[in-house]
């Protein structure tokens, strides 16, 4: 009994190390008082100070937040409607259609969106990035909402109608409040995906609309500076907080 358990513990410890050592390195070096990511010299907040006085970086952060918020809100509304439709019509091809962009390779989505924006003469900038992010976030919200819907007793809506509520009232007073945890979970997922996204954003961003991941990439092209470590650490922290809150809201939608 004892031996297989020990082996299991060791194996999982190794896997976790593999997963988290690279992240830990970034965090550690973001506090390192040296230009080189080579050896530990001493603790410093210097790189964070530089980061917060770098106007380009701050602009990118602002862009990222605005885009992620807008993408989360938009895909929240659209994904909620899509999720309800998926539940109500129960067509296999319908869910494939909504979830398609989720499974599609990012590079493909990026290229095809770029072509589409060119075709319809939509200027590249924040708007185009938001639209692009919404396109692959709807599916996640729809999934979370659909899961809530299928856990919901259909007779609740009939009861509401029966007791005198119009279709709109029964949606507003019964369906929406019951779906809300699913919608919020989906929107947080969308926010996380949007703020992290690089590939799709790379194709759909215009001048002056660079997001944090794009900004980091352009800095790394020269060298992995400690500022990059610092901004990466902050981004990591934000994502971590979101994931924690998200898992509180609906553990099952995160697992799927």
């Amino acid at each position: 009994m004892a031996r297989p358990r020990k082996t299991l513990l060791l194996a999982s410890a190794l896997v976790y190390l593999f997963l988290y050592i690279p992240l830990a390195v970034v965090v550690v070096f973001s506090f390192n008082d040296s230009r080189l990511n080579a050896e530990w010299v001493g603790f410093t907040w210097k790189w964070y100070d530089q980061l917060f006085s770098n106007p380009q970086m701050l602009q990118a952060a602002r862009n990222s937040l605005i885009i992620a918020l807008a993408a989360a809100l938009l895909s929240g509304v659209l994904g909620c409607l899509a999720g309800i439709a998926l539940h109500r019509f129960r067509q296999k091809w319908l869910s494939a259609l909504v979830l398609g962009p989720v499974a599609m390779p990012d590079i493909l989505i990026g290229v095809s969106l770029l072509l589409t924006f060119m075709l319809f003469n939509i200027g590249l900038g924040s708007i185009s990035i938001i639209l692009a992010h919404v396109s692959f976030c709807i599916g996640f919200v729809a999934l979370a909402v659909q899961a809530r819907m299928s856990g919901m007793d259909d007779s609740l809506l009939e009861a509401a109608r029966d007791l005198g509520a119009s279709p709109w009232q029964s949606f507003r007073l019964i369906t929406l409040p019951l779906l809300l945890p699913g919608v919020i979970a989906g929107m947080m997922m969308a926010f996380t995906l949007s703020i992290d996204d690089f590939v799709v954003t790379f194709f759909t961003a215009g001048v002056g609309s660079a997001t944090l991941p794009l900004e980091i990439y352009s800095m790394v092209k020269i060298a992995v500076t400690p500022e990059v470590n610092a901004v990466s650490t902050l981004l990591m922290l934000l994502t971590l907080v979101l994931i924690t809150v998200l898992s509180r809201f609906s553990p099952q939608s995160l697992r799927s």
């Binding site: 007793d153 007779s155 609740l156 009939e158 009861a159 509401a160 109608r161 029966d162 007791l163 005198g164 509520a165 119009s166 009232q169 007073l173 019964i174 409040p177 019951l178």
Partner: protein, 360 residues
């Protein structure tokens, strides 16, 4: 007050309702009884407005309901799953129909409090439905459906989720509630015992059609056809052929039992040679080692084939010869008597010539 006129409903090839006609009187406890798939729930949903008949009409107080959406019908439903809103407290659940009817706040609070008293759960107002027991949820669901005084209350198998003990208690509560408030109930169930215990009248349904509408005792004692006889309670159904029909009795050749003369409940216009069946309740059959002869009774001798000990009674399945089996029962009222006869024993059985009911 409620009239169902020639209502039919078809789902693709499947005929859920076929020319259903019935009338429910004001203040009545009316039950739709039948096996699953007989159309009783479809009919109930049509009255509530969740399903639409292909043809026919549904009138309430002489006015057609069919063009009204569910929320505009003065009819409320108690759902099988109770359908209490999980994100609202008990008080908010009960207040829901009142809010929809746009009553003012103080009136709503007063009515909610009043109805919570009626169902004896005044201290549960702030609780959420998940924190209540099955029986309590049931009462809240009924309170919510009754709070703004519908013309008609529809109940869709409301007791099926409760255990046997609680169900009996709720049955008594339902009967008393209905008596007190005087609202017409239309009750759907597949449980014949429940239907007999609760209803003023019962419509037995089978395959989308109404088999018989009658009072419980009439339905039990004088089933109109084989289906009703078989569905309601235990019943022996003995097939036979009419030999001759007289005004006060009919001579019948029962398969495997020979010719007998029956004197009660004879359907009109029986023809000689027509197939028929004698429906006979087990409790109407006498069973003993030896029975004294009696001219008013029909006597048979048989062999005990099987026994079923039920606690209060024991059921004896007696073979009367040529594969004809009859169920009879004896109460186990004498102390220490678990069983009077064993399989293989020879016994005599008898029943009154007017004990059964002849059906086509």
């Amino acid at each position: 007050m409620l009239e169902i006129i020639d209502v039919s409903r078809r789902y693709g090839e499947y005929l859920a309702l076929r020319d259903v006609n019935l009338r429910v009187h004001a203040g009545e406890f009316f039950t739709l009884l039948g096996p699953s798939g007989c159309g009783k729930t479809t009919l109930l949903r049509s009255i509530a407005g969740f399903d639409h008949p292909d043809s026919g009409d549904i009138l309430l107080d002489g006015k057609s309901l069919l063009h009204l959406p569910p929320e505009k019908r003065p009819v409320h439903t108690v759902f099988q799953s109770y359908a209490l809103f999980p994100h609202m407290t008990v008080a908010d659940n009960i207040a829901f129909p009142l809010r929809m009817a746009k009553l003012d706040k103080t009136e709503i609070a007063r009515r909610v409090e009043e109805v919570l008293e009626d169902v004896r759960l005044p201290d549960k107002a702030r609780h959420y439905p998940q924190a209540l027991s099955g029986g309590q949820r049931q009462r809240i669901a009924i309170a919510r459906a009754l709070v703004n005084r519908p013309r008609l209350l529809l109940l869709d198998e409301p007791l099926s989720a409760l255990d046997a003990k609680l169900r009996e208690q709720m049955q008594i509560e339902l009967i008393n509630l209905q008596k007190d408030i005087g609202i017409t109930f239309v009750y759907v169930t597949h449980d014949q015992g429940e239907a007999l215990a609760l209803s003023h009248r019962i419509a037995v349904m089978n395959q989308g059609e109404i088999s018989q509408i009658d009072e419980p005792a009439q339905l039990y004692n004088c089933p109109g056809n084989r289906f009703v006889a078989d569905f309601i309670g235990q019943c022996n159904i003995l097939d036979g052929t009419v030999i001759e029909s007289h005004s006060d009795r009919v001579d019948v050749e029962l398969d495997g039992l020979g010719r007998i003369s029956l004197s009660a409940h004879i359907p009109a216009n029986l023809h000689s040679g027509e197939r028929c069946a004698l429906t006979l309740r087990p409790e109407k059959i006498r069973l003993a080692k030896q029975l004294e002869a009696n001219d008013a009774e029909l006597h048979f001798r048989g062999q005990v084939h099987d026994t079923l000990y039920m606690g209060d009674v024991t059921i004896y399945i007696v073979e009367l010869g040529e594969g004809v089996k009859v169920e009879a029962l004896l109460a186990n009222s004498a102390p220490g008597r678990a069983r009077l006869f064993d399989p293989g024993d020879t016994v005599e059985i008898a029943w009154h010539a007017d004990a059964g009911h002849l059906v086509r």
